[in-house]
Symmetry: D3
Subunit: 315 residues, 6 copies
């Protein structure tokens, strides 16, 4: 005897075991287009930790999401096969390199099956091993929305902290810096190098002050100009958004994006050739009212809509 | 021997039994112009509950309010007789229809005495029984500020949830859809019907994207064009405002109004022929710092100023 | 290609889609001994609501649980087939009777398959429809741990609130009052009837003052004396525990049980012929640090151990 | 036309303008036996402040209280005329002496009318001006439950801080130290004087260690032995209770009373000749879950029961 | 043997005893250019208190700051000698005048040594005694960013509350009202006088509505026009910023500045002849996520950059 | 010119840069008896993290402490030279072995100077490198108060997590298991090995159930019997205490010690030959009201008293 099957999307929003967006929990990768993935890892954080708890809280708040987008009227679930494939399984969590290997291994299986991953972190160091999977064949472009460039050479004498992934990605040939753009950058630093590495290699930086001058639409033009039509990865650090909207993160910087601007940016990426995307650095212990996770869930839904539209070949 | 009478408005803001705006608690309805009313009901909520506790927390934070408006220099207490008439008394709380009847009965007495009600919810389902009282004689116009249209046909197989009141109001002849405007609408849905019912019947919807393009002043022009000079009800759902400003609500949607825009909208309604107004969906359990209730109290004060000015015949 | 299967019990406690105790999510009822069930319903609460969110938060905190009990060395997963069967599906949530029918229907299917349910509420009204399933054949005994007797005749003119289930259960012939005991009762009331109904029908009440005098061991003796060896239901209201331990509930009463005493009580029930059990009234919005849900999860684990031992025939 | 009058005690606990225990708000002092009073003052606090907000939060949580005591079956509202007379009105709040004069003036009016005051603070300095009213005619005895003796000579070069009231009361002839007992004392100090003043003048101190050795019943014997049958004041500092139960206070000290022990102590005072009582030092900003205010409200209810019984001449 | 000296700026942000910005704690005033000072005083607050805890929380969050400004590339620590000189020592805290004398005495020593103070409050009353030190020789100009004018004549019958400092400063000849500008003013009042005193004496008020119309750049022009090149004090009340960004304050007013606008204003003051500055009214008990203290720390860092640049003679 | 020196112990408890207990911050190790040390490290935590922020929050709350113990009348500052030596400096934080080496190095310098360290963690893995310093010469005894034995062989395939330090200490010859006792052990486990290693090597385990049966005094007898008069280390994991008292920790287990029992245990260790002590696993993000840090600070003060008494040679 089986339990009645009902569409979880139509149940009250507080019901049910929480998967991302209430999608089915899939363990078979054979019939999926887009995988929603959790990466509960924060072992490479120099400031306040807690992002290890991000995937669970984002899953919980993502039940607030529904199916049809109010502007584009895209229903991603009608366009693509979408599922929650659970969290990356970690064999080690106290050694950054080993944990990164666990992550890369998980994404390589997804990549092998032709699945586009949309991930919830976890700290920003996870983007490097994800890129090792999705950019294994050739360098990709990058749309990177963040308060920080994450292009340091080292943090606390380590090459693999959450402040270094994009420098490593350039060095490892995963990221084509000429096709990379960073948006929302701000906040003091102890050294210029975090701001200089990118421009020296061709990365376009849109500091928050320039963002405010240009406005969302012209920044979108700039993004499209920079990344073009090639394969591109989208990485969204929740600390790009102002702490008033997103207090639940480890390294908040005041003077950031509004959530509305962030939504505008994502909608402006319709049609881009995205090979994967992530939303990172949500730290639930600092998000007592859950509004940070709500933004993360909504940004994931916005990304899901443009991914699904592109994959379904309609854009 | 009586306790000394002092003007509670001049006492420290943490003193005294909290009535709305520190107005007197009235039980006699014979000499009132405007009644401040609490409707502690959230029995028709499909998402997170807690709005039953809204009136108390709004009363508490409303002690932060003072008398003279800094822009218009209106002092509503010099223009009208204003009092807190307490909360609606409920004989039943576990049956939506019975609870709605309790609400309608309470407002009919106010209406009978010629009192204009300014209410604090409670969930948005309460607006229907309020309209059954204040619009009993003829359909009224509507200024509806909200993230959601609340025009679903059913939620969880019920016709009377907090997602359906304005559809019911049209069907019951309480609301003239041609004189109705909804502002701030956004967020995904499981069906198009919530967005389609209104336009099919003549309701003007200003989605948040259009709001952002037009700006407050032009939206006010649109409001005045739509509702004209006839009797009009004003319903303000706190989830119209962005969750960074108003986390304390059951169904938050990112990308909303700022509190400043909301104040601008209310001020733009000076002179409208308002027959009543409400501020709903404040859910204190999700408002740990009280800033949502502070907005609700301030919006009530802004509405009180324009109500008083109109009633006093000065506009 | 499938995702690697790992034992979720051995993963870090913040990993994975949260099922109760990290057990598998089952939709097939054919091979189960014990079902862990969520009942996200709080539509019959007269005080502060929020228990609708209980099952999710208890699931989240239940990842803190592990397999082997440190006192009894019972490993319930080696003794029985245990799974999370998800939440009761609701077709209606705004009508108490209809919601209760949804609950009863769900449990009847479990009962039909010979599965013993261990549930997480939800408000205490849910115990009545659960008993309509598990006690359908004959009245059962009851071990009821709570601050309140929940034996009112009516609350807010309703027969089916969270303050009335056990009176209804007696009236409906589901509960044998001679084999019922209530432990931890305290707090003022507006009428004696809530305390008088039970004794008039033979229910044994152990007020908290008597509990403190007797101590855990002698109360256990009393329980065993009252319920004997017949089929018995165990209902644990989290507000039995003192608010310092369990702030996250709607109707807290000071002067309650310690969590240690509660654990002692459950362990004392080894060998009882339990036909089902529940832990109710966890209200996450009032449980900011999660310690209430932690107690609920641990009490569920303690109950699971004694259920599994009994079912496996070892006691 | 008047609003329907209903018994607020029978309404849902989140309804209505919150008075203490939902009693009527009285401004006429002529027909009262017991006055519930708020003293929103914390201008004499050396540690964390916030007790100025105590009366409001205690009023809010006191709606959880009901009428009949579950042990004694006392219903204080049937025995005496009880009302909330509001808060003390302050003409000055930045000068301790002036504020204390405002307090004393308020209580003198109550005292003149033969009303017994039961107060909610506010910081502990308020007990001195209250005693100046209720003990104006002759020194009274004292039951003082607290973590601190509040018998310093000076704090921060002031004679009138919240650490000095009982020394002043002895010096001013308001308090008979031979009929005074302090219970629950603990925590380090910078000088012995706070512990030495009392014994030098005959005050009996029961440190928490002695309390734990003796147990509640023998401490009650000691209280009765010390204060006898003369007029006695009862002062309950919420920091007597352990911070796990009562985190919302300015100077918490670990290792304190349980709320159950506190209830036991109050119940043990039945029949004492109490001329007034207070519950002080509840600081809502540190009481995020409201459990401290719940204890304060319950302790006030417990005191109300014994006051009413005594005044009604039954004990 | 000494502990290894390391640059605290390069340690993880949660390490070390928290001084402001991780600067050295100085007790010798002979070799300093800029002193970071804490003034833990909130004895003159009429609304919610807690600002006494401000300096500690701001120090804690200020560890998030680093050295090089991302826009101006100013590194204040290379330009000037900056240190945390600790908190003002108070001999009295229960008498406003005595506490203000303690503050003035502390700042006179700094002033005597030619040190420019950058302070963290404390309530806004502290600015008056600070000005008594830094403006002892001649009246100074003022850039005052706040929701309130703080120009009342009295609050609660006191001349020296946190609502009166700038009126007193004009009266005492410390402040030249012709060279004073107030930005961000808003919120209702009980009397016009708070808005009228300033204009009557030549103070320029930029209400928030005018601020929103003009924009940051034109307001900066206005500031420079008003204060000119003479000595000027900068006072930043955190409640100038909207409560969504800065909930942790005692008298929040909705509809305020964004943190980005506040940063823009400070950056626009480069080159001004500042004799001191403060950031006041941060109340940690209402700042559960720490975002208010983060803004305060960042605003202090922004001010530090322009102070250091000016002092170093580069602008 | 120097800032006036005042005794920080006599200032209001919210004043000053927070060192442990308001002791002086020492960088010179030549004239110290007892060093208070912070170890802000949580890189070896398998559950919820956040203990890296422990030292700062404990420092902040430790200002609540004063000098003279209310039971023993010990004033540790009159008996010994006590200072806060700051936090361990970390050159690496992403490699457990390297971080442990940083810790060991710091403590070796203290040990070399004959200073007894009293530390605030940090996660429990820090006790191993501390013991590598203080037990470098010979194995020491251990009083270990904790919910967990921390004697696992591996966690997440690592030998050096916070669940393994005491097994490693035995293996490395730092700990004499025959002179070790563990108190308060409870909570389920996935393997028996964590409970079996100790007894197999002679460690005495007092499970919480035995603790509750024996009571504090008899457990103290057992401790003294086990550790005798040899050099002994004291390690206090805050999760030994029940989560109602100490919610701010990563791996809470219900049914734990009360804070009063913990104080009793420490006081019972007077005269022991302690070579060092620590209080670990305070995780501020889960301690919203600060009561966990308050317990940690008080336990440190209790330990400081017995350390000072012993070192001063008086016991």
């Amino acid at each position: 005897m089986a339990i009645d099957t009902k569409n979880p999307m139509h149940e009250p929003r507080y019901c049910g075991i929480p998967t991302f967006m209430r999608t089915p929990h899939a363990t078979d990768l054979n019939h999926l287009d887009i995988a929603l993935v959790g990466v509960p890892y924060d072992g490479a954080v120099e400031a306040r930790s807690g992002a290890r708890q991000g995937p669970r809280q984002i899953r919980d708040m993502s039940s607030m999401m529904r199916s049809i987008h109010h502007v584009t009227r895209i229903n991603p679930y009608e366009l693509c096969r979408v599922a929650d494939v659970g969290d990356v399984h970690f064999s080690q969590i106290f050694d950054v390199a080993a944990s990164h290997a666990d992550i890369a291994g998980f994404y390589k299986r997804l990549h092998h099956c032709g699945i586009v991953p949309l991930s919830a972190g976890g700290d920003h160091s996870i983007t490097l091993p994800i890129m090792r999977a999705v950019a294994a064949d050739r360098p990709v472009g990058l749309v990177h929305i963040d308060a920080h460039t994450d292009c340091c050479d080292e943090e606390m004498n380590s090459k693999y902290s959450h402040g270094t992934p994009f420098r490593r990605a350039v060095e490892e040939g995963l990221l084509d810096p000429k096709r990379a753009i960073q948006i929302g950058i701000r906040g003091a630093a102890n050294s210029d190098e975090c701001w200089e590495f990118g421009p020296q290699h061709g990365i376009r930086i849109v500091y928050i002050e320039e963002f405010n001058r240009l406005g969302v639409d012209r920044v979108i033009d700039e993004v499209r100009h920079v990344v073009g039509e090639g394969p591109t990865y989208l990485s969204f650090d929740i600390d790009s958004i102002d702490p008033s909207f997103a207090p639940g993160t480890g390294t908040p910087e005041i003077g950031g994006l509004t959530s509305s601007e962030a939504q505008g940016l994502i909608r402006g990426l319709r049609g881009l050739n995205l090979v994967g995307a992530d939303v990172v650095e949500v730290s639930p212990p600092f998000d007592s009212s859950g509004i940070t996770a709500l933004i993360a869930a909504t940004i994931m839904y916005e990304i899901l809509c443009i991914l699904a539209e592109k994959i379904a070949g309609r854009s």
